[in-house]
Amino acid sequence: MSKMITLTIDGIKVEVEQGATVLDAARKAHIRIPTLCFLEEINEIGACRMCVVETGARTLQAACVLPATEGMDVKTNTRRVRHARKTVLELILSNHDKKCLSCVRSQNCELQRLSKELEVTDADAFVGKRTEHPIDDMSPAVVRDNDKCIVCRRCVATCYKTQAVGVIGPVGRGFDTSIQSAFKSHLSDTACIGCGQCIAACPVGALREKEESPAVWRMLHDPTKHVVVQTAPAVRAALGEEFGLPMGTNVTGKMVSALRRLGFDQVFDTDFTADLTIMEEANELIERIQNKGVLPMITSCSPGWINFCETFYPEFIPNLSSCKSPHEMMGAIIKSYYAEKAGIPSRNIAVVSVMPCTAKKIEAGREELSAMGTPDVDAVITTRELARMIKSNGIDFLSLPDEEFDSLLGDSTGAGTIFGATGGVMEAALRTAYETISGETLEDLDFHAVRGLKGVKEADIKIGDLTLHVAAVHGTANAKTLLDQIKNGEKTFHFIEVMGCPGGCVNGGGQPVVSAIDRLRTDPRVERAKALYKADVGMKKRKSHENPGIQRLYKEFLGEQGSKRAHYLLHTHYTPRPKYKHPVEETTTA
């Protein structure tokens, strides 16, 4: 136990552990100090000065970086403090475009919220020079609008610390500072992996997904198109938040209902092809082990991770499972198997994926992912985009009845459902691999060793005579740590699950944005994952190979796992990508 410290905040005595900040201590005293640049464990730099307090020192101090000390007497609401905070906020507003009416983050914006809380009565209290920047919307995943940016650097810290990508940073100095890529190039011309974690970190509307909902509306309004939608496991665990439901509410039934009302012709479940992924991936793993193939095999469901691997660790490309990600498998199956069953030419079918992810937007554009001559998936929208579509269509989400997915590609198991949480793909694969390899029934289905938020989770799983060394990591910075250890020969594994986003898909870059303050109270990575694990336990079938729809699909259409047809439709390949995409300019001999 570390040393305890006693201090007084606004006359209230609090005890905190040594090392705690005044901001932590205030929270214990039920005092909410306003913050803006602060993002717990990610960006704690005391830059924005919203959290200033009086401590008796000559100047005001930033509570988020001020260590609590014994006997300290802190005042968080003096006239001086209130004046300073409001002035800081008004100065930030003086260089912000304040176009709240047309901003995607309106009503979920920390700047807007603070303006209200600090009782800003004149948003133009200071009028002066403004910095002006073009919008960068060249990336299929992420749009940056620096006219809304408050230069808090939360996106920068996230890109570096949790993702180890580091393609954005502060450029210039003083008033002219802006967050940009090197040489002010478009994000699409950098090593950006499209994970969208910067969007999740942004307190305002400076970062958002590249919207594809306009394209989806066009498809829905086109009478010649048969529009089929699918939803990823993690979407149902978070969509409700956009309608005011508590974090971790599972809204599968209402979501399906809403999608039908939006006009989609068929509503399928990506959980179904998560099970299909497990069938193919478990088979691939067993083959690699039996035939002395390249190990460890690494999962390929997360397109942010795939972009990361191709860019920063191309030497691990042979380790990547050749399986397409579940929604791409679904796209290929819809345009082949379903098209045949429904008697609709595949070119008349449009596949829309609702994903917790922005990198899926880049993935859908990959040329190699077009088994039937058109892209397997025609459009990808995020959970947030779906919520906006539902709202703009006048659907009263909260009162909707629960409906079921369409049956042909709608069956799912608990294994497919837990794909949305870190460790879930691993666990699902182990449930199937165990029974396939040993021929025995797996009694205890819960692999707790690969669950939870530890950055790198390792486990040894005994299957008959074989001991499988496995690991699950989430957040590409953790993947980097593990890959470096494998490269150095420090560690060896048979099978690794990598999810690009911290916490896995439930906390993907396309999910509802949770403010820094709300994150202190509820961890979306935990609450949303709980919803999926709870669903898993409640399901009749919890192993992918027991999914009746999957069994039918192999029997009627695919044949065996890893068959020629399965390979053609469900597997893919990867290509090394350059870190620096612009042709390097030649320096002149001066």
Binding site: Y160, G166, V167, I168, G169, P170, V171, G172, R173, S181, A182, F183, Y580, H582, V584, E585, E586, T587, T588, T589, A590
Partner: protein, 156 residues
């Protein structure tokens, strides 16, 4: 004239020298600015790769300090001090005159590559205000009328 390959070789040596010291980025960037006269993209990539940091970080530093230049600088770099003392003593008029005479804005370089014009922060020679430097040479108590004479010193 040293060719590009040799300069890159020089840069690699500097990187190797400083790599394992604490805070290696600044001395390396200083050296790179010396060697190349500016910091083009390939030079910044070389530094980023050499130190295993991101290009973003190198570029951020390059744009933060006015000492570093992203464009090739002219043969003669004219820096007009815009510190408080020089400013009060009429540095702006001197800068405007130079701008007019050379036909470039502060930060720019003449087409013939002869002159680069910069407005800088305090040079620490307030007693000579308004002051400007051309390369290493310091010119004090400058008036706009003296600008043509000063420039003529550097025209071949």
């Amino acid at each position: 004239m040293v060719d590009k390959k040799e300069k890159m070789e020089q840069l690699r040596k500097v990187i190797a020298e400083h790599k394992d010291e604490p805070g290696p980025l600044m001395p390396i960037m200083h050296a790179a600015q010396e060697i190349f006269g500016y910091l083009p993209q390939d030079v910044q990539i070389e530094i980023a790769e050499g130190l295993d940091i991101t290009l973003s970080e190198v570029y951020g530093v390059a744009t933060f300090y006015s000492h570093f230049s992203l464009e090739p600088k002219g043969e003669h770099v004219i820096s007009v001090c815009m510190g408080t003392a020089c400013y009060v003593k009429g540095a702006q008029a001197v800068l405007d005159k130079l701008s007019d005479s050379l036909g470039i804005q502060p930060g720019g370089t003449t087409k013939d590559g002869k002159f680069t014009l910069l407005a800088t922060r305090c040079l620490g020679a307030c007693g000579l205000a308004p002051v400007l430097t051309v390369g290493e040479a310091v010119h004090g108590r400058v008036t706009p009328d003296e600008v043509p004479a000063i420039l003529s010193l550097y025209e071949d």
